[in-house]
Amino acid sequence: MFTTGTSPSCLRVRKTKEKVGSKQGLKPILSKPAVLYTLQGTNCRRMKGIIGKKIGMTSIFDPSGKQIACTIIEAGPNVVTQVKTSDSDGYKAIQLAFGEKKEKNTTKAEINHFAKASTSPKHFVKEFRDYSIDKQLGETITVDIFAEGEKVDVVGTTKGKGFQGVVKRHGFSGVGEATHGQHDRQRAPGSVGGSSYPSRVFKGMRMAGRMGGDRVKLKGLKVVKVFADKNYILIGGAVPGHNGSIVLIQK
């Protein structure tokens, strides 16, 4: 998996990977290293993606009878509401919109923005940089951009857990024992900063606080099944967020 990075470090990662690949007789990932320089400052590869809504989880059986837990996501159809190019915006991207929204809840600016793509107001809008599929303004993207068996990344917002202690939030194991006269220490965080040294609390010390509600990306989830006519996609395993929350599926 390659993440964002400046071009030299990016190049290094690629080169080492290519070496390993060639040793095992695999194809090099990029045949033209020059491409890396044109993509500097952005993702090393072009991606495709879609906005969807998490429906819920269930399990299905594979041909060998193995039960696979999977998440149903209603993905798309997404409308391309803006196309950004290097000339007009300095970078390449497309903006996708998903989910209906009432016109009375939409500002005039937004209504006109969606009208440019000749579509109704949409609930959720997201920009994807360096989109790998060429699409024009107003065109739709459906779930069939993904195939069965493909590995995808899923981005979502985790369920909010409220204010939680260190045991739940950071996996601390509490202090001391349950018996031998101890009390009120089972879920305690312990010492946070020594008395003589350092005599202060270090920044970033893990303590109690708000938990959940974070943007989380799960990498390498498998596409189990795609129902293109219903816009459903089945993804192996769990996906962040509650049912009905917005998720991004990308590759």
Binding site: F61, I72, K225, K230
Partner: protein
């Protein structure tokens, strides 16, 4: 139709089994695939729980094998279940018979319900 029902209509074949519940004595004929050979293994015991709803439901069968308690969990809609035979309908007062785990011999017997 909701999404979960739609997905299972497409992917999970419907199956017809006799009705059974916790306390019943059943045989589950289960397909085992070894390499490219396929054979049927039967597991006979008492159902100690039925769990879940819809297409993800499962049940647990408990038997005493060579003096050792063995429990096996089967998904109801598993394509590997060939058939389920109900031998006895048990007379029990619970939906989950976990108390059976502490019992052995005479006290582990389940009374048969006679109609």
């Amino acid at each position: 139709m909701n999404a979960v029902a739609f997905v299972h209509e497409q992917l999970t074949p419907k199956k017809e089994f006799p009705k059974f519940k916790a306390g019943d004595n059943v045989t589950v004929n289960y397909k085992i695939i070894e390499g490219n050979k396929e054979r049927i293994q039967s597991f006979k015991g008492d159902v100690i729980k039925r769990q879940g709803t819809g297409f993800t439901a499962s049940f647990t069968v408990r038997k005493i094998s060579d003096g050792v308690g063995v429990e096996r969990l089967f998904p109801v809609y598993s394509p590997n279940i060939e058939s389920i035979l109900v031998h006895k309908v048990g007379k029990v007062r619970r939906a989950k018979l976990f108390y059976q785990r502490e019992r052995s011999g005479k006290s582990a017997r389940i009374k048969e319900k006679r109609f």
